[in-house]
């Protein structure tokens, strides 16, 4: 899996810092506070403007001050859980009456039919299955959240049932919070059901076994003189495995389509049977131990990698056949955790300047170095291909080159890992004129395995958090918009959030073709993005100004709205990476911030709304 962005450690993420480029990064906490302050000022200003129109400057100021004071001194402190509970229960009953459970059956039906179309014989069946269930759950769930949350309050206002509610001592904040919590509760139950079904669907969809025909097995003799059976399994769901059976009658198949099987022998003589276990290794949750990356330039001195002008800016390339390399420093490695070998995994991107042969891997070398003594191991060769994760178990016994140039036997932990448990891993490319692209998360040591089921659940937690944010947005919008408009607005928030990265690039001028209006003109008048717009002086001036304004609003939206693409953790699960608790915690806190902010906005919108008008 290719990580588009580094996952920061929690405190680094939370607190202000200066990053490696010397740029001040605010950190999440300060950013939230700043955004909150900016929104507060902007909102008060807009509220004041509105009240000036209605009541005049003096009265208007008094009115705004009074409603803020009422909120802080009376309404918020008098919040009652029983009233919130009443609104929550109402929302749940209403949802049930609107037969939301139908969505669940739609989902079940979807999976039923998907079974026909998802090809278990694909190269990465687990990836396919997991992405499918997670994506469809996410889409269905968020659509559900938007529909449920946006129509309820406007319906109440339209049917005037809100009259009997708002003439009770219930606070606007309690109405907003209760409603939102009710929909969240309903959706949570739905999500849980979907999760259980999805999990079963994935596990069942991938489960298969093979048979072994004894006639196809060949007797070999291994290095110790033991008798080893070698052969292959039957061909099922689009693949077969090579296999070896040890003298003890136990063995494993080779790895195909991201999994392998255990093989064993049962019975004696006539009753001798070969058994193949369930697929293993398809549903995993690797817990990677990341190192920090430093580039060596082509002369072998610390420097920058090369940008080959594509992919993400943070991934840099090293040239093959030169001294350029990427150096990962892993810290705090513990011998007890890796008694036999260190499982190094890498997922380098490959950039070929010639593609005569794109099938065979590009050759590279791994060199290990003790950061303290400088002792360096012999280069271990490997081959890398696009989009493939390679596992390189680094054995304990290695050869190292001394200063005199002689090879000596060394032990990985005794000699190459230093006292603090630090180890440098140098990776270079040996094919001249080919390049390896590297970013910090591309090379890691595979630590202990996480539980796949729990990882799957964590992906659902990601969807759950998105659902909560969407629900609160929906309810917030529905306090002052009609149902259809609120639904549209919520959908826009989701879209902007999904394309946040793109919008920020657009605003930053990193994309050719200008802003929205300019781009539209270019499409209509068939002008490609490289030439000037050249449509007369007025249009040439006016279009960028208009676009700047539009982009400003988009920028504000992109800054303020949640980054939904970031919440989507299905790719972690699909590619078998553990979703770190740290990331989940970050997402959780972001959700909490949105829940608080949106509830406050919802309160003020509903409170200042003339309900019977």
């Amino acid at each position: 899996m290719v990580l588009e962005r580094e996952i920061l450690p929690f405190l680094v993420w939370l607190l202000p810092r200066v990053d490696s480029d010397g740029v001040l990064q605010l950190g999440a906490l300060l950013l939230v506070l700043l955004i909150a302050a900016a929104l507060l000022v902007a909102s008060l200003f807009i509220a004041y403007l509105r009240m000036i129109i209605v009541q005049g400057p003096g009265e208007g100021f008094y009115a705004v001050a009074k409603s803020v004071a009422t909120a802080v001194t009376k309404d918020f402190p008098n919040t009652s859980w029983r009233r919130i509970g009443a609104m929550t229960k109402l929302a749940i009953l209403e949802s049930l009456r609107r037969r939301v459970l139908i969505v669940f059956f739609v989902f079940a039906l979807l999976l039923l039919f998907a079974g026909w179309f998802l090809d278990p014989a694909s190269d990465h069946p687990a990836r396919l299955y997991i992405s499918f269930v997670l994506t469809s759950t996410e889409r269905l769930m968020l659509a559900m959240a938007i529909l449920l949350s946006t129509f309820s309050l406007p319906n109440d206002i339209k049917n005037r049932t809100i009259y009997t509610v708002m003439t009770k001592p219930v606070r606007a904040s309690e109405v907003v919070l209760g409603r939102a919590l009710g929909f969240c509760a309903v959706n949570s139950v739905l999500l849980l059901l979907m999760g259980v079904i999805s999990y079963g669907f994935v596990v069942r969809g991938l489960s298969h076994t093979h048979t072994i025909d004894p006639d196809e097995l060949e007797m070999l003799v291994d290095a110790e003189g033991g008798q080893v059976l070698s052969g292959r399994t039957s061909f099922d769901v689009g693949h077969r495995h090579d296999l070896t059976l040890g003298p003890d009658g136990i063995g494993r198949t080779g790895r195909r389509m991201d999994h392998e099987h255990q093989v064993w022998v049962e019975g004696e003589g006539e009753n001798r049977r070969y058994r193949v276990g369930p697929p293993e290794g398809a549903l995993v949750a690797r817990v990677p131990i990341y190192g920090s990356l430093q580039f060596m330039d082509r002369t072998g001195r610390p420097g920058e990698g090369i940008s080959v002008g594509k992919e993400w800016t943070y991934r840099q390339y090293i040239e093959g056949g030169s001294l350029a390399s990427g150096v990962w420093t892993f810290r705090g490695l513990d011998q007890r955790q890796f008694p036999d070998y260190i499982p190094l995994e890498m997922n380098l991107s490959v950039f070929r300047t010639y593609k005569a042969d794109i099938v065979s891997p590009v050759a590279g070398t791994i060199t290990l170095k003790n950061p303290t003594t400088g002792l360096t191991s012999e280069a271990l060769p490997f081959g890398a291909q696009e989009f493939v994760v390679y596992t390189h178990p680094i054995p304990r016994a290695l050869k190292a080159v001394t200063a005199e140039g002689t090879l000596i036997d060394v032990d990985l932990f005794e000699d190459l890992v230093d006292q603090q448990g630090d180890l440098e891993v140098w990776i270079g490319c040996s094919d001249a004129a080919q390049y390896f692209g590297m970013a910090q998360p591309d090379v890691y040591i595979r630590g202990q395995e996480g539980s796949f089921a729990w990882n799957f659940a964590k992906a659902y937690l990601g969807i759950w958090l998105q659902m909560i944010i969407i629900t609160f947005f929906g309810v917030m919008f529905s306090t002052f918009l009609t149902g259809a408009v609120a639904m549209f607005a919520t959908a826009i928030v989701y879209t902007v959030g999904l394309f946040r990265e793109f919008i920020l690039k657009l605003v930053g001028g990193e994309l050719d073709g200008g802003g929205p209006l300019e781009a539209l003109l270019r499409i209509v008048f068939q002008k490609n993005v490289q030439i000037d717009l050249d449509m007369g002086p007025v249009i040439d001036r006016a279009v960028p100004v208009f676009d700047q304004l539009l982009l400003f609003f988009l920028w504000v939206a992109a800054i303020v709205f949640p980054d939904f693409s970031e919440f989507n953790t299905s790719r972690f699960v699909a590619y078998g990476f553990n979703i770190s608790g740290n990331m989940l915690l970050q997402h959780f806190l972001v959700t909490v911030a949105f829940v608080i902010g949106l509830s406050i906005y919802g309160y003020f919108f509903l409170k200042t709304r003339e309900i019977a008008a």
């Binding site: 009376k74 229960k89 009997t164 509610v165 708002m166 001592p169 219930v170 008008a613």
Partner: protein, 313 residues
């Protein structure tokens, strides 16, 4: 019988009634409401500079033809609408203050209730909104369902209710918190004659318990039967305000009816009347019906728009 013009109908020098001494529960000053459309353009001037006081322990009726601003007044008092100018105070608090709702019960024009809840769930929901503990809620629910005679339908969803049943559960909903002030918007619409009678009895009973009732209606008979004081609105303006018994007394007509008078005495009275060029019919102050009063005000307002009422005691 010839009806005198309303303006001369009630005297102003009567002694204050017993209700006027109580504290003020509702007070409006110069209360004005202009409905605007989305663009802020003026649509309807629904209420014009209303000054009103409702005191503790009285049944106050808001009267007026359709569209005269009765419901608007009530919504302003409840904080469902914000005044364009002037102010409305309930229990001395601004009408937009949520905490005043603790002591208010409101029965809206139509039963705006959740149709997917049953009677019990409905009352339980509203009880929770008053932060009532579960035991108290259960007790109130039983009492109220009993008193509005819906015991047989307490577990049926409101969407299956007839209009009158919905009205009853609406009333129960308004009383869930044992309110001090009850606002009833046309309480008897949709009720059968027995239901209407019961509703009126209930309103009187509430008054006897020391509660204040504000009701609006155009069913004059109801108002006449139960209200202590009324205000008559016409096109958003207050046209008449005062005690029902006084308003309905025709002050410039004397009706004499007597028993046991000697012939001489009768002759004497007759001569007095003849001396004043009068014809004796019978002797007393007749009462008009509210209907007559009402129609007169409407007629009068159409003839002389803009005249406003003084409080008459």
């Amino acid at each position: 019988m010839e009806m005198p013009a309303t303006s001369e109908m009630a005297s102003t020098q009567d002694a204050p009634s017993e209700a006027s001494g109580g504290d003020v529960i509702i007070q409006t000053q110069n209360l004005t409401k202009v409905y605007r459309d989305f663009w802020g353009r003026q649509k309807v001037r629904a209420l014009k500079a209303l000054d009103l006081e409702v005191r503790r322990g009285e049944i106050f009726g808001l009267l007026g033809p359709n569209g005269s601003g009765k419901t608007t007044t009530m919504k302003l008092l409840l904080g469902l609408l914000f005044p364009t100018s002037g102010q409305a105070l309930v229990f001395g608090k601004d009408a937009t203050d949520v905490s005043k709702n603790e002591r208010i019960g409101y029965l809206p024009e139509e039963s705006y209730l959740y149709r997917f809840l049953n009677a019990e769930e409905t009352l339980d929901f509203y009880g929770r909104l008053f932060d009532m503990p579960a035991a108290l809620r259960r007790q109130r629910i039983d009492e109220l369902i009993e008193s509005v005679n819906l015991g047989w339908a307490r577990r049926r969803q409101l969407k299956e209710y007839s209009k009158g049943m919905a009205r009853r559960i609406g009333l129960a909903q308004a009383l869930i918190n044992d309110p001090d002030l009850i606002m009833l918007d046309e309480p008897t619409t949709g009720l059968d004659p027995i239901g209407t009678r019961e509703m009126k009895d209930l309103i009187l009973r509430l008054r006897d318990q020391g509660k204040t009732v504000l009701m609006c209606s155009h069913l004059l008979a109801d108002v006449q039967d139960v209200c202590d004081r009324i205000a008559i609105l016409y096109q958003g303006e207050l046209k008449e305000l005062g005690r029902v018994d006084r308003l309905l007394t025709v002050q410039d007509v004397t009706q004499i009816q007597a028993r046991g008078l000697s012939l001489e005495a009768q002759d004497e009275i007759k001569t007095v009347i003849q001396r004043h060029q009068g014809t004796l019919m019978s002797m007393n102050n007749p009462t008009s019906t509210l209907e007559e009063l009402f129609l007169n005000i409407v007629r009068d307002s159409e003839a002389r728009p803009g005249r406003r009422a003084q409080e008459k005691q």
